[in-house]
């Protein structure tokens, strides 16, 4: 077989065998899967140069899995694009390279550092600067450079209030910006990907998934995840009420004390702003238990979202999502 489906051992997945003809009932997860596959095929057919925005987080990993399924037994007909802030957890990069290798996918990396070097953006002053807002520029530059007309994102509508109205096919103007007033109604399964010159689309196959759906799907499919998602010992500091991992790009500041705790990530982003959680969950099943009992949204741990209630929305308008 030309393409590999990754499972948690990095092996070719066995699949769920022939399905008996007995029942036409589909579980909600099967329906979400089929919907996401439909959306991906639709985008691949309607656009000339799609890419899959790969962040290293579980949502983009699930997207890779769905892309494999959508074009099976062929390869998915688009590259992975990673916007590397340079502030990633080392495990993320390691996983990214492993994934590109086992799937045989083309991996394109563009770095915020080169945007800084080219004078396109400026590093925030102060210690442990966040590159979160800088990556928007790198991303839009990359999309332009690669002449991308559709970028798959792992965004879900349950993530944040501002996302509840997001479309599967989300239109961006020639500046990469999102105009909430100018989105197209989406009816039935008809996705309108027509656009003017220089415009592009973000496509969100996971729109209707919830955090729990994603985790259950990962468990059901036995998808191999970066080790960051599982409980492990790590040096952390507490900053503004959020636990952050200590690393090369996130140094301990005066007045802070680093300590070793057993933690895991609920989302994966930059080390400078992605909150980690104290946890004992070191298996998928344990994580699912934890997610089920969680009392705080997964984004609750992201200090970048906390800056303002409408933070997400602003970043979306600028073209981050």
């Amino acid at each position: 077989m030309s393409t590999q489906l990754l499972n948690d051992r990095g092996e070719l997945a066995q699949g769920r065998a022939s399905v008996p003809a007995a029942s036409y009932r589909k579980s909600h997860l099967a329906q979400l899967e089929s919907e996401a596959i439909f959306v991906m095929r639709e985008a691949a057919a309607q656009f000339e140069r799609p890419v899959l925005l790969f962040s290293g987080g579980k949502d983009s990993i699930v997207m890779v899995r769905l892309a494999q399924k959508a074009f099976w037994p062929g390869k998915f007909p688009f590259p992975l694009l990673h916007i590397d802030t340079g502030h990633n957890f080392p495990e993320t990069i390691e996983y990214r390279d492993w994934l590109a290798e086992v799937t045989g996918a083309e991996l394109i990396v563009r770095t915020v550092q080169s945007s800084i070097d080219a004078g396109r953006v400026q590093e925030e002053p102060g210690p442990n600067p966040s590159r979160n807002s800088l990556q928007t520029v790198t991303l839009l530059d990359a999309l332009k450079e690669l002449k991308v007309d559709a970028a798959f994102g792992g965004g879900r509508r349950d993530e944040e209030k501002a996302r509840a109205k997001e479309r599967f096919f989300s239109h961006r103007d020639a500046f990469g910006q999102w105009d909430p007033k100018n989105q197209r109604p989406e009816l039935w399964n008809l996705f309108n990907g027509r656009k003017g010159l220089g415009e592009h689309f973000r496509v969100f196959p996971l729109s209707n998934w919830t955090e729990m759906d994603v985790w259950q799907y990962i468990a059901e499919e036995r998808i191999h995840l970066p080790s960051l998602y599982f409980a492990h010992e790590r040096e952390v500091v507490e900053r503004d009420g959020v636990l952050l991992a200590v690393g090369e790009n996130n140094r301990v500041l005066p007045g802070e004390t680093a300590e070793s705790r057993r933690i895991r990530c609920r989302t994966i982003g930059d080390i400078t702003c992605t909150g980690v959680w104290e946890s004992e969950a070191d298996t998928l099943e344990a994580i699912i238990q934890e997610v089920a009992a969680a009392r705080v949204t997964e984004r609750g741990g992201r200090s970048d979202d906390k800056r303002s209630e409408a933070a997400m929305e602003d970043r979306k308008k600028q073209g981050y999502f």
């Binding site: 699949g15 589909k26 009816l187 399964n189 008809l190 099943e285 997610v291």
Partner: protein, 643 residues
């Protein structure tokens, strides 16, 4: 606090209940302030779908606003611009789950751009919640919401009678609303209508059964949502696979990827590909999880065929003995969604399944007033208008009626310049060569199309259907001419039917008198009966005094342009009184008959009859010849070959 979601299976491999949950997509609609946001907030809150940080944010905002309670409506508030204006302007999707089901709510704002949003939200919904404020009762908007739900053929409608706490949980208030809405819904095509009295604010009958309404013995809203039958409107009969993408990993594999729109399929079955019509058999149904022994509506699969056939995106694989309609003209209901009105001179891009073609709207048959459900003439469709139209496409589509198949019966129109989606459409069926006969002001918008289209009957009969309407004073000669004409037509091999005034007065209209109202009803019934015979392919001859212009105009309106021929059989009063074959004029003059046309009731002569016959000057034969000539000129009956 219980957990948010069912616990997953332990690692020992026993069944994970999460994988057994099914999915219900529903839409919610209500007028401003009916409590829709509060209700959704309540559903999310009571099903423990709200996280602590979200709740804190809401509590904070409620406090800042000086609200004395936690305003659950804030949970579903969307974009900042809307927050500032305190309105919601677009469909928002919300998610929650119970151990039984996962729910996707399409939350459609009930005011600005209501129709556009409601139609969008309803297009994927299997159930619609229509909110009614118990204090306000059934408003026009509540009916509008029900109408749109029925138009989009949502199988289940729930009318949630909200704010019961503000009417002292009074059963009478509730019952009145139930009764009024039920009466209204009879005019719609609704399969399942359920009423639930609730208080979204307090929580009565939303998740927990209310003790304050012991008179209500139905389910709570959530229980209803959890148990209502899902997938009922899935079509498992007509196999349709619109090809989305061709998968060709190597020379020896050519797979046609798509999501099955309807029906089921198994390897070995005979299929044909549209539009080419090439036939083959299904070799395999492939997925990344293995090949399937059978696939059904909703499955995303890759089909391979036994024969090497060239198939591309936009084509459709169907079963050999179950074909959709293939055509480039069709009849549809269109919802216009753009500020720029419909322009019949613009070639729009039409997207239907995986196909994109150019399309013109060739005719706006009527617009539906969504509030009164009346049909009105319209020169254009503007934002939020709904109308019935005829569409012509540059290339054929493979379609079914929306009523049978939502996927192959729906389409959108896209502006070719701005690329914006401007309309949503639902196909009713093939376009009629002549527009189908219509009920002009009937409230029941759902009109089943005829089983055998009139055109087919006409083709078999060898002539077109028409209605000849003979009007004139009693004794003018209507019946005499019509009877002779019918024999003549019969001799020509035509299917005919004669409806005569005296005859229907004995049966169909035996309950009617001769006052203006009863005369109107008489003519209305005859018009409808004539229309039925017309649709059956007949040349229908109606001989009725029918003295009022308005009544005749109404009969004319039931038929397509050019198929209603008004024949004024004229003879002056002097002459008919002299003829008086049944002695009626004499009786009328003596006052023994009330409302006798020409004597004690007026006759409004046609202003522009299609044909006027003066029976004081013309013989019966001459009149008959004139009419036959007229029918030939109109193409209703063909000319004899040798002339």
């Amino acid at each position: 606090m219980t957990t948010l979601l069912p616990h997953p299976a332990p690692a020992d491999g026993s069944e994970n209940p999460y994988l057994e949950m099914d999915l219900l997509r529903f839409s919610t609609a209500g007028s401003v302030d009916d409590g829709k946001s509060t209700l959704i907030g309540r559903l999310l809150y009571d099903t423990k779908s709200i996280f602590a940080d979200q709740m804190e944010a809401v509590e904070r905002t409620s406090r800042q606003r000086g609200e004395g309670y936690v305003n659950l409506a804030l949970l579903t508030d969307g974009l900042r611009a809307e927050r500032e204006q305190n309105i919601t302007i677009d469909v928002a999707y919300r998610y929650f789950a119970t151990p039984k089901r996962k729910f996707i709510i399409a939350d459609t704002p009930g005011h600005l751009q209501y129709t556009r949003n409601m139609v969008t939200g309803a297009s994927t919904a299997e159930l619609a919640i229509v909110l009614v404020d118990a204090r306000k009762g059934v408003l026009t908007q509540s009916k509008r919401h029900g109408f749109i739900a029925s138009l989009l053929r949502i199988p289940h409608i729930v009318v949630a009678v909200n704010k019961m706490d503000l009417v002292d949980y009074d059963e009478a208030v509730y019952e009145e609303i139930v009764e009024e809405y039920t009466r209204f819904a009879e005019k719609l095509d609704v399969q399942d209508l359920t009423f639930i009295p609730i208080s979204a604010l307090v929580g009565d009958n939303v998740v927990e059964k209310s003790e304050r309404m012991p008179w209500y013995d139905g389910s709570t809203l959530l229980h209803h949502l959890e148990t209502v039958n899902v997938g009922a409107n899935r079509n498992l009969v007509d196999f349709r696979l619109p090809v989305q993408y061709v998968v060709r990993p190597h020379q020896d594999y050519r797979g046609f990827a798509g999501r099955i729109a309807s029906g089921t399929i198994q390897p070995g079955e005979e299929v044909v590909v549209l539009p080419s019509g090439h036939g083959s058999r299904v070799r395999s149904i492939d997925t990344a999880d293995g090949s399937l022994a059978e696939a059904a509506a909703g499955d995303a699969v890759v089909l391979t065929l036994e024969d090497e056939i060239d198939v591309s995106r936009g084509e459709m694989i169907v079963r050999k003995r179950n074909l959709p309609t293939v055509g480039n003209r069709f009849d549809a209901i269109l919802c216009w969604m753009n500020e720029k009105p419909l322009d019949p001179s613009v070639p729009y891009v039409l997207m239907h399944t995986s196909r994109q073609v150019q399309a013109f709207v060739t005719e706006i048959v009527y617009r539906i007033d969504v509030d009164t459900l009346h049909r009105e003439e319209a020169g254009a469709l503007g934002l939020n208008d709904i109308g019935r139209v005829q569409i012509l496409t540059s290339q054929p589509l493979f379609f079914d009626a929306y009523a049978q198949n939502h996927t192959t019966g729906s389409f959108i129109l896209v502006d070719p310049h701005t690329h914006v989606t401007v309309a949503a459409g639902m196909i009713r069926g093939e376009a009629k060569e002549a527009a189908p006969a219509e009920r002009s002001v009937s409230p029941d918008v759902v009109w089943e199309s005829w089983n055998i289209p009139r055109e087919e009957r006409e083709a078999r009969n060898g002539h077109k259907a028409a209605v000849l309407w003979f009007t004139g004073l009693s004794g003018a000669g209507k019946s005499t001419i019509a009877r002779e004409l019918e024999k003549e037509l019969f001799g020509l091999g035509c299917q005919t039917m004669l409806l005569d005034g005296d005859q229907v007065r004995h049966g169909l209209c035996g309950d009617l008198g001769f006052g203006a109202d009863d005369r109107r009803e008489n003519i209305r019934r005859v018009g409808e009966v004539a229309r039925l015979f017309f649709e059956a392919g007949n040349i229908v001859l109606c001989t009725f005094v029918s003295p009022f212009r308005a009544d005749r105009a109404r009969a004319r309106a039931l038929l397509p342009e050019g198929r209603f021929v008004e024949v004024h059989v004229h003879a002056d009063l002097q002459t008919v009184k002299a003829r008086d074959p049944k002695g009626l004029y004499e009786k009328a003059e003596r006052g023994e008959i009330l409302h006798f046309t020409g004597i004690s009731s007026p006759y409004e002569a046609p202003e522009a009859a299609d044909l006027t016959l003066d029976t004081t000057a013309q013989s019966v034969e001459e009149s008959v010849r004139a009419i036959v000539e007229r029918l030939r000129a109109a193409g209703v009956v063909s000319r004899p070959r040798n002339s």
